[in-house]
C-alpha cells in the first residue's frame, strides 16, 4: 500500500511537533528534516566520528565506508554512476565548480575540451536563480565568451523556441533550471538537450527544485552536469551534489584544490585524482553526508512517484487557492498546467514584505522577495513576489490557510479602498 503523504508524516518531523500550528510553505527555500536525519547525523558524530579518507586506522575506515555508501545511495537515487557524484557545499558551490573549472580550462590549466574562446557562447534563461546566472556571467567575463539568454514573457515563462533562437554554432554550454524556483515552470529538458547536442554544447541542469520532488534519472535526461542541495530535500545544510558524466568529470579542472584530491604534489605542481575525489579538496562534511543518506532513505521509503503525485496535487491546490482572489496575480503557468509544487503571486497595492508579515502573523511561513531571481522579477514588472512552496509533509489544510489569509491581505493594508 502506498504511504499516504502530508499530515501522517508530521509525526516524523520535530519541527511540526514544536510548531504544530505552523503552515510551513517554504520548502522551496529549505525543507524541514525528519528526526531520522537529525539523529543519524548526531549519532554518527557521537559514536563513529573520524576523519574520512586519511590514514589507516579502523575508525577512519568505518567513516570512509559510510561516506562511500552514501555516495552510492545518492548515485542510484538519480540514476548516476557512483563516480559521477561529487560532494559539494550545496548547489551554488556545485554550479560554481563547473564554471570555475571551465574558466581554468580556458587558461590552459587542464581539460582542454572545456576551454572557451572569445566569442564562444553560453546560453541561459532569464528565469535563472542567481546561482545559475552569475557564475556564467563571470565565466564569460573571464574568457571573452558571450552570455545569451532566452527571454521570459509577462508571466515569467520561457520557451524552447526562445532557447533555439539563441543557440548557434558557437554555443558551448546551455545552463537552465529543471523547475523554476519562482514560476514553477518545468523545463522541456529533452528538447534543450537535443538542441545542445545538435551544436555540440554541454548542458548544465540546475536540479534544486526537481530532485527533491520527482523521480529523476540523469542518464535518461541526458544532461552533462546537474546540481542540487540536500537541505531542500529533507537533508542537512552544507552538503550538495555536483553530478557530471564520468568522462567529463575526470577532465574538468578542479577549482578548489588542497588535501585528499591529489596524486602527486611537488613544490612546482600537483596532479589530481580522477573524479569524484579530484573535486573534494579538504576535510569533507562527513556527518552531513550521513544525514543526507538518511534523507534519501526517507524519500525512497515514501517512493518518489508518491512524492511527485502528492506534490502535484498540492501544487494544483495552491494555484486554485490563489487564482480567484481579487487583486492577486499568479506568476508562472496558468491554472491546470503542469508546474512544480509552488506558487508565486503579487498582490496589487501591497508590497511582498508586508504580505509575508501578514501571513507570518497567521502562522503561515512563505517566502517574499526576489527569490534570488532579480532579472526574472524585472521582467515581471515587480521587485518582489510572495511564494508558497510545498514538500512531502504539506497538506491541503496548509493550502487552505494560505488561501484564506491571502484573501484578507488587501483589506488589512487598505489596498482595496
Amino acid at each position: 500500500m502506498p504511504t499516504p503523504l502530508g499530515a501522517p508524516l508530521r509525526a516524523d518531523f520535530p519541527f511540526f511537533q514544536a510548531h504544530p500550528r505552523t503552515a510551513y510553505l517554504d520548502t522551496g527555500a529549505t525543507s524541514q528534516r525528519p528526526e531520522t536525519v537529525i539523529a543519524a547525523e548526531a549519532d554518527f558524530v557521537r559514536h563513529d566520528y573520524a576523519a574520512v579518507h586519511r590514514g589507516s586506522s579502523m575508525s577512519t575506515g568505518e567513516a570512509t565506508s559510510v561516506f562511500e555508501t552514501a555516495r552510492e545511495r545518492v548515485a542510484s537515487f538519480i540514476g548516476a554512476g557512483e563516480r559521477e557524484i561529487v560532494w559539494t557545499q550545496g548547489a551554488t558551490d556545485a554550479l560554481n565548480m563547473i564554471a570555475l573549472g571551465i574558466g581554468d580550462a580556458s587558461v590552459g590549466l587542464g581539460g582542454d575540451r572545456f576551454a572557451l574562446r572569445a566569442g564562444d557562447e553560453i546560453v541561459v534563461t532569464e528565469a535563472e536563480h542567481h546561482a545559475n546566472l552569475i557564475p556564467w556571467q563571470r565565466l564569460a567575463a573571464r574568457t571573452g565568451a558571450v552570455l545569451k539568454w532566452a527571454r521570459v514573457d509577462e508571466r515569467g515563462l520561457w520557451t524552447i523556441e526562445g532557447i533555439r533562437e539563441q543557440v548557434t554554432g558557437r554555443t558551448r554550454l546551455i545552463a537552465f533550471a529543471h523547475v523554476s524556483n519562482v514560476t514553477g515552470q518545468i523545463a522541456p529538458v529533452a528538447d534543450v538537450v537535443a538542441i545542445a547536442r545538435s551544436v555540440g554544447a554541454l548542458t548544465v541542469l540546475d536540479a534544486c527544485q526537481s530532485v527533491p520532488h520527482m523521480p529523476i534519472d540523469v542518464a535518461a535526461l541526458g544532461v552533462d552536469f546537474a546540481a542540487f542541495s540536500a537541505h531542500k530535500m529533507l537533508g542537512p545544510n552544507g552538503i550538495g551534489v555536483l553530478y557530471g558524466r564520468a568522462e567529463l568529470l575526470d577532465e574538468l579542472p578542479p577549482a578548489r584544490t588542497g588535501g585528499s584530491m591529489i596524486k602527486v604534489v611537488t613544490m612546482e605542481e600537483a596532479t589530481f585524482l580522477p573524479a569524484p575525489n579530484r573535486f573534494e579538496a579538504g576535510t569533507q562534511p562527513v556527518s552531513q553526508v550521513v544525514g543526507f543518506s538518511a534523507a534519501i532513505d526517507y524519500l525512497e521509503r515514501l517512493g518518489m512517484d508518491q512524492v511527485a503525485a502528492h506534490e502535484h496535487e498540492i501544487g494544483q491546490a495552491l494555484v486554485e487557492a490563489v487564482v480567484r482572489i481579487p487583486g492577486v496575480r499568479l506568476v508562472g503557468p496558468a491554472e491546470g498546467e503542469p508546474r512544480g509544487a509552488l506558487v508565486s503571486v503579487t498582490v496589487d497595492g501591497v508590497h511582498a514584505h508586508d504580505v509575508g508579515q501578514f501571513l507570518d502573523d497567521r502562522g503561515i511561513t512563505v517566502r517574499t522577495g526576489h527569490h534570488c531571481a532579480q532579472p526574472l522579477h524585472r521582467a515581471l514588472g515587480t521587485p518582489s513576489s510572495t511564494r508558497a512552496s510545498a514538500g512531502v509533509y504539506s497538506t491541503r489544510d496548509d493550502v487552505a490557510a494560505f488561501g484564506a489569509a491571502l484573501a484578507e491581505v488587501r483589506a488589512f493594508f487598505g489596498a482595496d479602498r
Binding site: H351, A352, H353, Q357, D361, G369, P383, S384, F412, G414
Partner: protein
C-alpha cells in the same frame, strides 16, 4: 488577528504608507543619497538642502514596503528645519530603538517615529524602517 500585527501596522503607519509626506524630486537638492535593501529590493533616494547648519529642504522618492515608505514619510516631517546635529542625534536614537528589539522606549524627540518600536521586534524588518534614515545620515555627512 493577533494584536501584534496591528501594533506593528498601526493606522499611523499605514496612513503614512498610503499618503506619504515629503515625496518629491530629491535631485533638486544639493545632497542626495540612494540606499538599497538588497534582500528585498526596497530603495530610496533622499535629497536635502542644508542652510546655516539646518535642514532647509528635503525630498525623497522610493519604492518599497509600507514600513520603509511610512518611515521615510514620518522622518521627513520630523527633521524639517532642525540642525544637522539634532538630525544626527535623532537618527542615532532611532537606530538605537530599532536595534533594541523593542526594549528601548522611544524618546519624546522621536515623535510619530515611536510607532516603529514594534517593528523592532522583527529582525528582518529593521532594515526596512532604517532605510530612509540611513540615506539621510549619508546626506548629512556629505554636507558637513
Amino acid at each position: 488577528m493577533s494584536g501584534e500585527l496591528e501594533q506593528m501596522y498601526q493606522e499611523l503607519i499605514l496612513d503614512h504608507a498610503r499618503t506619504p509626506e515629503g515625496k518629491g524630486d530629491p535631485s533638486v537638492h544639493p545632497f542626495t543619497h540612494h540606499e538599497l535593501n538588497p534582500s528585498c529590493g526596497d530603495e530610496i533616494t533622499v535629497g536635502i538642502t542644508v542652510t546655516n547648519g539646518a535642514i532647509a529642504g528635503l525630498a525623497w522618492e522610493g519604492d518599497g514596503c509600507s514600513i520603509s515608505m511610512s518611515s521615510a514619510s514620518i522622518m521627513s516631517g520630523l527633521v524639517d528645519g532642525i540642525t544637522r546635529e539634532e538630525a544626527l542625534a535623532l537618527i542615532g536614537e532611532f537606530r538605537e530603538m530599532m536595534r533594541s528589539r523593542g526594549s528601548v522606549e522611544p524618546s519624546e524627540a522621536l515623535g510619530d517615529a515611536a510607532a516603529f518600536q514594534n517593528t523592532a521586534k522583527y529582525v528582518m524588518r529593521v532594515k526596512c524602517a532604517m532605510l530612509a534614515w540611513v540615506a539621510l545620515e549619508a546626506d548629512l555627512k556629505a554636507s558637513a
